[in-house]
């Protein structure tokens, strides 16, 4: 749950990029960091080791300025995808306000996408939250590889695998090239802020 500071009229919320290992979560944040300079309020921090695998998390602070009299701050996080870091994943999800689930379009990663979504579902449940009513956006990443002749799953199949029940907005993307990254983050911010306005009875 976001913290709301009544004194400064400042609201701080947390968006987590979730998904299997190597699906492009860090690449999303890197693109945002380099592209939305005006909204980014600090350095991007990646806590990682051993090559560029995210062992802990990435963190990127943003500020959206004043929205209806409130200063809105956003913290973007990624989780480590590797199975063995499940406790870090759970910790990062604590008090989450909105989620971007990044799915890997590579055919060879089909099962990993589904496993990761299930893992998200279970971790949220342990915090008393549900994938079905938390602000959530899907991203089908690495679409650029289609042109390289690498086998990708058709969007329709990914929808069927991942989004049949969720019916969340889903964006095809290439985090590497930046396509769809802005649309994804804009949509999750919109949904998260709407939900917070309802929860906090803020700006009503």
């Amino acid at each position: 749950m976001a913290t709301f500071n009544f004194k400064n009229r400042e609201i701080e919320c947390k968006i987590v990029y979730y998904g299997p290992g190597r699906c492009g979560k860090t690449t999303n944040l890197e693109y945002i960091f380099h592209t939305y300079k005006k909204q980014v309020t600090g350095e991007m921090v990646s806590i990682d080791t051993e090559g560029d695998r995210t062992l802990f998390f990435d963190f990127l602070p943003m500020g959206l300025g004043k929205i209806r009299g409130c200063d809105v701050k956003v913290q973007l996080y990624t989780v480590p995808g590797q199975v063995q870091y499940s406790s870090t994943r759970k910790l990062v999800l604590k008090e989450v306000d909105g989620i971007v689930f990044v799915a890997d379009s590579l055919e060879v990663r089909r099962d990993k996408n589904m496993q990761s979504l299930k893992d998200l579902h279970e971790n949220l449940k342990s915090y008393g939250l549900s994938v079905l009513n938390i602000p959530l956006v899907l991203q089908y990443n690495k679409r650029d590889l289609d042109a390289e002749g690498i086998p990708l799953m058709p969007i329709a199949q990914m929808d069927k695998d991942l989004n049949r029940q969720l019916k969340a907005p889903a964006f095809p993307a290439s985090a590497l090239k930046g396509d769809g990254v802005g649309a994804t983050v804009t949509e999750i911010l919109k949904r998260t802020l709407l939900s917070l306005q309802k929860q906090l009875k803020w700006a009503t």
Binding site: T49, G51, S126, G128, L145
Partner: protein
């Protein structure tokens, strides 16, 4: 597709997967390519091709090995440690005792033991945090396999004027239980009794600034009353040491719509044998069936080291009246050892 084309595209895929760090997938593609080449051994350069692939796979195996043997809890820079601490302590602005303790525990959970130890050492100065800080210091040392340091540290505290006898007693029980868990016995480590007399033992050096009657009996870790009443005799020290740092609990419901189901809750706060859960007000099918006085006969306690079974009693249920958690419920549960 012509098999030449097939091999080419398999190798291209393998190359890309490797580049993206999808090492298993890369290996699988190389394996398929090798099979295909072997089935078509008549192609002129098949031996060279296979030799090349073998080389690639050796490289892949080495990369995998490096990842597997990389320390899973790497030490990170001070700046990053500050960030971990800040991000994962709940008091995002205040510097209350709880927030500091929580921040330090977060560091330890991330394996930043050295830094966490420094924080816990500082917290030893604060009376209300002393026992928790001491236990967490021991926890860090045990994580680091520094059993001797843990025992030595405890030995030093027995001479440390900051610790009261009651506090030492709690720390000692904690250490004993942990040593047992790691298969050590007290004797082997010659763990000494606290040298400080618990009050008025003759000839004891009770420090002047700590009046004897102010010291609670060493054997009463101030458990919630429900616990004291329900605790089987002979285990006066309860399980406080075992319930330390419970991250979440699973509660088996015996009534309501969740009847027969184990529902997991995050533990928000913990003091000794009492845990506190904050449950969203909208979760009516849970909250309506947890009343003050409810006995919970089947609870699983998830701590980082083990899952413990036990039971508990709801000692308080309070509706949060203001702030961002307004409308949620704060539930206190006293743990009863089963």
């Amino acid at each position: 597709m012509d098999f030449r084309e097939q091999i080419k595209s398999l190798l291209k895929e393998a190359e890309l997967y490797q580049q993206q760090g999808l090492l298993n997938e890369a290996k699988e593609r190389y394996r398929k390519a090798t099979d295909l080449i072997k089935q078509n051994a008549h192609i002129p350069n098949s031996q060279q091709l296979i030799a090349k692939i073998v080389q690639k796979v050796v490289g892949l195996n080495q990369a995998m090995e490096r990842i597997n043997t990389a320390t899973s809890k790497p030490q990170v820079s001070d700046r990053k440690q500050d960030l971990i601490k800040k991000l994962f302590s709940s008091g995002r602005e205040t510097s209350s005792d709880d927030a500091d303790l929580e921040g330090a525990i977060a560091l330890a959970k991330f394996g930043q033991f050295e830094r966490a130890l420094q924080e816990f050492e500082r917290l030893l100065d604060r009376e209300p945090l002393r026992v928790a800080a001491a236990k967490n210091i021991l926890r860090c040392q045990l994580e680091l396999d520094a059993l001797d340091a843990a025992v030595d540290g405890y030995g030093a505290w027995t001479q440390d004027p900051r610790f009261s006898a009651a506090q030492l007693q709690k720390v000692k029980f904690f250490l004993e239980s942990r040593l047992k868990k790691s298969g050590r016995t007290l004797d082997a480590l010659a763990l000494e009794e606290p040298r400080k007399p618990a009050g008025t033992a003759p000839g004891g050096g009770v420090s002047a600034d700590r009046p004897a009657q102010g010291i609670p009996p060493a054997s009463s870790p101030e458990p919630p009353r429900a616990v004291a009443e329900n605790r089987p005799s002979g285990s006066a020290h309860g399980g406080e040491e075992e319930y330390l740092d419970i991250n979440s609990v699973g509660i088996l419901f015996d009534r309501g719509p969740q009847k027969g189901r184990m529902v997991e809750f995050d533990v928000s706060f913990q003091t000794g044998n009492a845990i506190n859960l904050i449950i969203p007000g909208k979760d009516r099918n849970v909250i309506d069936h947890l009343e003050a006085g409810s006995r919970l006969d089947d609870i699983q306690f998830f701590s980082p080291i083990a899952i413990l079974n036990g039971s508990g009693v709801v000692t308080a249920k309070t509706r949060i009246k203001s702030g961002p958690k307004e409308g949620d419920f704060s539930l206190d549960i006293a743990i009863i050892r089963s």
